[in-house]
Symmetry: C2
Subunit: 215 residues, 2 copies
Amino acid sequence: MTTTPTPGADAPVKGARLPRTARRLQLLGAARAVFVAQGYHAAAMDEIAERAGVSKPVLYQHFPSKRELYLALVTQHTAELTASVREALASTTVNKQRVAATIQAFFAFVDADGGAFRLVFESDLTSDDEVRALVDESMQSVAGSIAGVIREDTGLPEDQAVLLGVALAGMAHTAARYWVHSDQRIPRETADQLIAQLSWRGVRGFPRTDIHPVG
Amino acid sequence: MTTTPTPGADAPVKGARLPRTARRLQLLGAARAVFVAQGYHAAAMDEIAERAGVSKPVLYQHFPSKRELYLALVTQHTAELTASVREALASTTVNKQRVAATIQAFFAFVDADGGAFRLVFESDLTSDDEVRALVDESMQSVAGSIAGVIREDTGLPEDQAVLLGVALAGMAHTAARYWVHSDQRIPRETADQLIAQLSWRGVRGFPRTDIHPVG
DNA sequence: ACGAGCGGTTACCCGCCGGTAGGCTCGTGT
DNA sequence: ACACGAGCCTACCGGCGGGTAACCGCTCGT
């Protein structure tokens, strides 16, 4: 495990001296791996350093604190997700396909190498305001994008459109996470098509009917 | 606050000696409050004890460790949720209303006093296997119940029905959490009706159509 | 060659907090 | 009245892990 350095990602050639930028990137890689595997609290700075084939002070020459290091990673990956969803929504004007593309974005995110999604979706630093803010902003952004489309298409009041956006985003999020953790028993295509159908059927009915007070 | 012993919830009458059972309950109350407010890691045993108007060793006479204390709470509240959803699904045989009742169960759970749902839905002890297991089992159970109904009604393969169950549960989960955190800007009725509609429209279309490989 | 400085290391500090040892004080049965 | 035990307290320990002080040596420009 520890002896064989995972090829492709980090290359902890123990003796090597690296220029600042390269080292920083490599440290981020090591940190990501450890945080993903252990969670924030269980992860030790020593371990991250060790994984990078380097000693602790080096880590602190690049990042002022453990928290800051973590924040850097979370920032990066939340940004990836939001960008990816934004692209998905912009990729077409056909709403049905927008839905499908968005779902796919979530599945792709969760399926990405290194399991980085855990830092966003399964962080154990939920008590930190800044981390929460980052994650919340990200989901808000995603939900907002979806809500925009919904609103434009159904005339629902802002509040309600956002709620639906959040709900759909949450569904995608949860489904994608479940799919990954279940060792991909279902092929990814099938899974995201299924969820896309569920979502699309859910939203497309909305313009016509409004809410009756108690059925 | 501390002087007036809130009747009903905790009664931190600082001087009092309590019989074991009563004390245990009170300690659980204090622990819940602190864990909810601070999260597992930020919470200190001293603080829980203090909040209960008691010293730390007393806490350890009732619970062998911090982790165990936390587990007791998580166990309790996950059980509440699963029971509540099970009831919701059994409350009627009309599927549309089953969906509505389930959504309502989630909203009620999240809206319950003390914000105990945070221990289940926003725990920062995600790295602990046993905690994860409890939460996962709970969601599995919920998803399974939903999947059962879906399957019976659509003839979808088990795997896919479960995926849909998970997705719907996740949606309810996320929507309810969002609703609570947004200070209930939307009235709860409206919110859960909206989500119920979204869900119902999503699932009810399923028997007829099957999945086309790529649109 | 030689010194400047960058990239790195070893070895340490110390605060926080989970957990514990041992003693005190009431209420109660005899 | 006395002892016994249940219930609680004060005071402490110890280690884990984030963060740092101080020193080394390779490389490269001159």
